[in-house]
């Protein structure tokens, strides 16, 4: 069974041309995330204000799935409040568990739908989730420094 379909054009496009790739000039916070077993590494940069992710960017040395997922995260999250991001977090986890999604949930996921095939590769789910796990760490640190 070929896995080529998992690497859809949308996914490969986000890998080749990652959105919001780079650093922010004066971020409020930055956070490293890594999958030590496979070597994926990302750094996220963010500016926040009143529970909103005003700006976000990332750098990655990572596989296509990890990079594409980070790119899709930034596209979805920039300018949005934390609740909006949290809803997408739930949907993303459902997608990775291979759970059935409703029509409006599909619509909300937008390009992230292209990561659906990753759920068929259990060892690679952590690649798609790295940006989300890093975002979790970032939120914890934001709480510690009273930014949220």
């Amino acid at each position: 069974m070929s896995h080529d379909k998992i690497y859809s054009e949308v996914l490969l496009d986000h890998n080749r041309h990652p959105r919001h790739s780079g650093e922010l000039t004066n971020p409020d916070i930055s956070m490293d995330g890594a999958n030590p077993m496979c070597g994926d590494e990302i750094t996220m940069y963010a500016s926040v204000e009143d529970g909103t992710l005003v700006d976000v960017a990332f750098r990655s040395t990572a596989c296509a799935i990890c990079t594409a997922s980070a790119s899709m995260f930034c596209e979805m999250a920039k300018g949005k409040d934390f609740d909006h991001i949290h809803q997408h977090d739930q949907l993303m986890r459902k997608l990775m568990h291979g759970e059935k999604l409703e029509h409006d949930e599909r619509r909300a996921l937008a390009d992230m739908n292209s990561l659906e095939g990753v759920s068929k590769l259990p060892v690679r789910v952590k690649c798609a989730m790295l940006v989300w796990e890093t975002w979790e760490l970032m939120k914890q640190k934001l709480k510690e420094i009273n930014k949220v």
């Binding site: 690497y7 490969l12 080749r16 077993m37 496979c38 994926d40």
Partner: protein, 407 residues
Amino acid sequence: MNPAELYLDFPLLRDNDDEERLIFLDNAATTQKPDTVINAVSAYYRESNANVHRSPYRLGEKSTDLYESARSKTARFIKTADDKEIVFTRGVTESINLLATILSDQLLKPGDVILLTEAEHHSNIVPWQIIAKRCGVKLEFVKLHGDGRFDLSEIESNWNPKTKVFSFQHASNVLGTIHPVNELCEIARCKGAVSIVDGAQSVPHFGIDVSDMGCDFYTFSGHKMVGPTGIGALYGRRELLERFDPAFGGGEMIKRVSLFESEYNDVPHKFEAGTPNIAGAIGLGAAIDYLEKLTMKKVESMVNSLAAYALERLSTIEGLAVHGPQTDRTGAISFWMDGIHPHDIASLLDGDNIAVRAGRHCAEPIMNWLKRPATTRASFYIYNIREDVDRFIDSLNRIRGLFKNVS
């Protein structure tokens, strides 16, 4: 035994219902097992299971004979005349941890140096880091040069007189490089250091002669040479095995025990506390039988010619760089493809039923030396055939196309 179709001896490769035959190219991590090995382990449990060296009945004699004859086979396989120089362990990792513990307790003093190399697998780095922290010894590293080799004269000129242990690999699990072990052991001997050779990637591939090599310790793992997991061997020069006290206590390793003191058993039993992996040792013996029937000369030439063919075909793929030497190498080939991460390559190959390793290969320092976050590694063994290389190359070309088509 038809060398062109050895995979037919391996049920996992022979008896699967997959549309396309599984092409297993992760042999540097572990190898598949032939019927003879699986049957030997199973027959032991069905027909001969009893504890060894303690059971006063015929079944116990039978199991002891089988266990000790596996030791003799292992000794003969790496060319020591003395069976008592073979200690069964779980494999290289346990052997090196055992040596690190013994040597730190009984030989090393604060300020002493342990010399390792930049090419080592984590199993020949981390045990030494643990004892370095515990007893104040220092670690130093031999540098890698060119396509992944050591500079012997540099080792001699940089030699720290406080070096008491020199522990190094025979062959690299990442680059496939075969190192000049005789010369490395000679340097250690002249400088008065204990030499330890990690044979995990060499013993499966060519004939080993520990007597000719002149090493103090040599260790390898059974599962990388068609044997079971959880069994391996540590060769130690008799004089050294006798000089050191054991690290683990329990049954089998003692002659006499009172409440406050014990008299240890003779070598090698004093290093084999508790009921050993009897089935594993017997399986290892069967693996040795399998390889010896083929002959190690044949094993070497089969894997060499496959690796040479793979290297030739890999060189035709645009944007692909092989890490490591072209010759004097094992069947482990690590490579990098521009613009495609190793994990994506491995997943896509998996979709074509081709199993390769991707990542850091438990050798992170070598990744830093290569300046790569990870590599893809295809490692060949006796049951691989030229058609496997062809399918592997076809898949790589298709993957290249898949990533290239995104503008």
